[in-house]
């Protein structure tokens, strides 16, 4: 199709493509992705696919170029509720610059400030990778499931903000960046060769462990600013986690034959790091700084260890619960040894 309206040479065949007028209605949450998932534009399992950059519902263009490999089966990437998770993410964006009460930071005992900076250093690493991973997978999402891609763009934004806020925390109260702290586990996330592998390792496992930690932020954070940081970050992680659980559930429902394969991904990750891609909590800088913060100082380190063990139990318990919700309840029987020691009998 070639024409130049500037010279009066017209085609206008594009005017004849609308045989089903569509007028989506706004909801009480505005005009959401769910509201426009209607008629011929709705997501569905069986849809013509072509590996071009065409988004679902647009009319195919003759001769359109393929743009590289992308998943051609909905079950490979889909998560029910990815649309509402996207909308929630857009509504709940926050600013590390202005939504954290930085003025509540105050002089802390040196050991406490250092522990908080050490934890922040580790999290600034973890969140950095957590932004790279969804970026890596964006091109693999077919335009038929563009809502999954949109959700991943919000995750990239969220993780940028997390890397940013933990860096700010380390540098805002007279402390600094301390020892490299994430140790093992992060490469697993980048090494994934399948979307579901990536999602179960990052969204369900790694972000699950981080989420459990953030939800103990009231105990970990020594100032109001710290507590708020953990609270806001936990809110974001909840969405990522929900995506992962819903995706896994969808995969196990639609393609139950993948169950053992998914167990293998978890076997590998659980065997290589105590917290998967959520950072290795047995790595001394992480273990000790967390214990120090939870205990309330070097003098109460043993209390900190006791609380840290509770945190580990909570992480593992919640991890198993999420897998159970997703339909992988049998994970409990083959949990890796580093996690099994914290699982309830």
């Amino acid at each position: 199709m070639s024409a130049a309206p500037e010279t009066g040479e017209l085609d206008l065949s594009w005017l004849d493509l609308y045989d089903e007028p569509t007028a989506a209605e706004p909801t009480n949450k505005g005009l959401t992705l769910e509201a426009i998932d209607i008629g011929p534009y709705a997501s569905r399992d069986e849809a013509p696919r072509d590996m071009t950059s065409r988004l679902r519902g647009a009319k195919p263009r003759e001769g359109a170029l393929r743009q590289g490999l992308s998943y051609q089966t909905r079950a490979d990437v889909w998560a029910d509720q990815c649309r509402s998770l996207y909308e929630e993410a857009v509504q709940r964006q926050w600013s590390s610059a202005r939504d954290i009460p930085w003025d509540t930071l105050h002089e802390l005992p040196d050991e406490t400030e250092r522990a908080m900076c050490q934890l922040s250093t580790m999290l600034a690493e973890v969140e950095f990778i957590a932004g790279d991973v969804p970026g890596q997978w964006l091109p693999a999402i077919s335009g038929e499931e563009f809502e999954v891609g949109l959700f991943l763009t919000t995750q990239i934004m969220d993780e940028a903000r997390h890397a940013d806020v933990f860096r700010k925390r380390a540098l805002a109260n007279g402390g600094g960046m301390l020892a490299q702290g994430a140790a093992l586990g992060l490469r697993n996330l980048l090494d994934a060769k399948d979307f579901t592998e990536m999602s179960v390792l990052m969204h369900v496992q790694a972000e699950g462990f981080v989420q459990s930690m953030f939800r103990m932020g009231e105990l970990i954070g020594p100032t109001q600013a710290d507590k708020r940081i953990f609270r806001m970050a936990a809110q974001d992680e909840s969405r990522h986690l929900a995506f992962g659980v819903m995706h896994l559930k969808h995969v196990l429902t639609e393609t139950p034959e993948r169950r053992e394969e998914i167990h293998h991904y978890l076997d590998k990750a659980e065997g290589e790091a105590a917290a998967g891609g959520g950072g290795d909590v047995t790595f001394p800088p992480v273990f000790e700084s967390l214990a120090l913060l939870l205990g309330g100082g070097k003098g109460r380190f043993d209390e900190g260890i006791a609380k840290l063990l509770l945190l580990r139990k909570r992480q593992v318990k919640e991890y198993l619960h999420r897998l159970d919700v997703a339909g992988l309840g049998d994970r409990r029987e083959r949990l890796g040894p580093a996690l099994a020691q914290f699982a309830d009998a």
Binding site: A64, R98, A124, K168, A172, G176, M177
Partner: protein, 400 residues
């Protein structure tokens, strides 16, 4: 372990592993005697639980942490403070002391956060971009903060209930334009996303900004789609595919950015001029939001190219190749009927006004090219041999 059951056999290699981790003699046997499964003990060894921690865990004695990390030789005592009370604590505000020094070449191949003390033996994370000149702009930190400050939501910040029925041809022209633009925005986001894992931690502020760009572009795709489906129309013909294919083919980040410079610039002009083709307040608001986001993208593009050319002057001529490739494909797509006619129809106010709309489109295209060349000039780059398919618009011969 059940009473009377023989203890499991501990191999020499396991005992050696425990010893290497500082486990005192007899600690494994004690753990077994206290009822811990061999599997649990092996797990503790596998995850490098040190001897002191293992002992503390077993006997609930007061732990004796090493706390070596407390003495990590990094800068201590610096304190970032807000430079602008309205903006809050910006990422640029914590670029203080050594933490604000961006190295010309970042040498650490792990995910280490810039400014922290490296741990030995960490994995190579596979980054490929280690040169500041490739990605860095001094404006990136503030662009990132502005992106967050200026956030908007397509679902709730646009007056969806204000939409009123439009003549079919107008509605269809809007739908065709926005089908194309939705795809362009989404595709650009996916292309940029693929490059995030290439950029090392030395330039974290740039990655934060690119994260905001990807998010913005996703929202543009969403908002354009919503408009197309909200007022009695639908989606039209998919966008032409040659331009975005060129971006996907880019082998390096400088090539990608030079190539996208052409689209980023011309789309900024398009949305900046949208008052000429917007049909209602919702569209005026939508295009204004999009143009504001694209202003930041363009500012990064200009600053990056400028800095790149200053640091690597021998790569100046090479940029012409990427720009030309983009210009050829853009010119081809501008001649596409489903790209040009909807705009002409909207600019002319309907099918009856297509002739006038065509003339207005020629003016718009001319302005897009002039501003593109001006953007390049701002980056210190003079494009001397603009592709003929675009140059024709400057010469008043768009059909050439």
């Amino acid at each position: 372990m059940a009473s009377g059951e023989a203890p499991p056999e501990i191999t020499d290699s396991v005992r050696q592993q425990a010893s290497d981790l500082g486990w005192e003699d007899g600690l494994i046997d004690r753990a077994l005697a206290q009822g811990h499964a061999l599997q649990v003990i092996l797990g503790a060894l596998q995850t490098n639980v040190g001897g002191a921690q293992a002992k503390a865990f077993l006997d609930q004695e007061r732990s004796n942490p090493s706390l070596d990390w407390m003495t990590a030789p990094t800068e201590w005592g610096v304190r970032g403070t807000p430079s602008d009370a309205e903006m809050g604590l910006q990422i640029g505000d914590v670029m203080v002391g050594s933490y604000g020094e961006i190295p010309d070449v970042w040498t650490n191949r792990t995910e280490i956060a810039r400014g922290s003390h490296p741990a030995e033996g960490q994995e190579d994370m596979g980054y490929t971009i280690f040169e500041k000149a490739i990605v860095w702009t001094d404006s990136a930190p503030s662009l990132y903060e502005r992106a967050i400050r200026d956030r908007w939501a397509a679902a709730t910040d646009l007056g969806w209930r204000s939409l009123e029925a439009l003549p079919d041809e107008i509605e269809r022209a809007i739908c065709q334009l926005l089908t194309e633009q939705s795809e362009r925005a989404y595709a650009e986001a996916t292309v940029l996303g693929r490059w995030l894992p290439e950029i090392s931690y030395g330039f974290v502020e740039v990655k934060l900004f690119l994260g905001s760009v990807i998010y913005d572009l996703g929202r543009h795709a969403e908002a354009f789609r919503k408009r197309a489906l909200a007022n009695g129309g639908g989606l039209g013909l998919q966008a032409p595919s040659h331009f975005i294919r060129g971006a996907i083919e880019a082998r390096t980040f400088p090539e990608l950015m030079a190539y996208l410079f052409v689209q980023d610039s011309t789309l900024l002009t398009l949305f900046g001029a949208a008052q000429d083709f917007a049909q209602n307040q919702l569209e005026r608001d939508l295009y204004r939001f999009v143009a504001a986001d694209r202003e930041r993208i363009m500012e990064y593009q200009i600053d990056r190219l400028s800095s790149f050319l200053e640091k690597l002057p021998d790569r100046r001529a090479e940029q012409n190749r990427y720009l030309r490739k983009a210009e050829v494909r853009l010119a081809r797509e501008w001649r596409d009927a489903a790209v040009s006619e909807p705009l002409a129809l909207l600019l002319g106010g309907g099918e009856q006004g297509l002739a006038a709309g065509g003339a207005a489109l020629t003016q718009l295209r001319r302005r897009q090219i002039e501003e593109y060349l001006a953007h390049l000039e701002s980056a210190g780059f003079t494009r001397e041999r603009l592709h003929s398919g675009l140059a024709a618009y400057l010469e008043g011969e768009p059909g050439a």
